[in-house]
Amino acid sequence: MWVGIGVFLAGGLGALSRAGVDALVKPWWKKRVTEPSRAFPASTFLINVSGAFVLGIVTGYAAKNAAGGAQDFAAIAGVGFLGAYTTFSTEEWHTMGLLRKNAAVEAFNVLGSLGASLVLAAFGLWLGGLI
């Protein structure tokens, strides 16, 4: 029950952090960058790659530590905060929009997001196991 409340609060903060990063990065990117790179969803990219890296650490840590405390931490920080901070639906929405307008930026976005996330999360899983 307490873990569930923790997941709710952490999820709320995770979504708010995503909105915060979005509000900071999006205008900065639109101002600094010209077309066609402007279409690249830089804030979602940054949010998803950083969140995947940190979830790797949390998951690696929880896998090595069977104690209840570590599992509760993984539920609140991992499922709650990081799960809500990162977003799959927005990524797919951008992908759909870019497919119609800018296929090159789209290919870079999908492959870049997947590649960077997979490599950094694997590194995080290894790092978390060391803690």
Partner: protein
Amino acid sequence: MTVLAIIIGGGIGATLRYVLGLGLAPPTPPDFPWVTFMINMVGAFALGAVMTLLAAHRLPGPWGKPFLSTGVIGGFTTWSHFIVEADQLIGARHTGVGIAYLVVSIFGGVIAAALGARLAELRVGHPTSGRA
């Protein structure tokens, strides 16, 4: 109020995902991570519909976007778990399942978002999708 809408929406989305994961007992490798997969497909479909309805002013803008799109749906779907699950599959030498999970999720998500947008377009009666 926007901040409160995002926090409550994100809390609802994350808790729903947490409860589904507990209730359905998420499969461990080498199984296909279908709980996260279904969550992400449902969320992509819902976001496609909501963004289209927002663009057509069929949802209350000030609350609809922070609460529904950024909060509930953004908090419900997850990129980080999708990636870590794929990494775990590949790390456990179930590379084929891992790559299939990545490819099916990415393409399935785009199709789901397009279907959601199309359904909402039919509902509002004119094309609006693609504009966020």
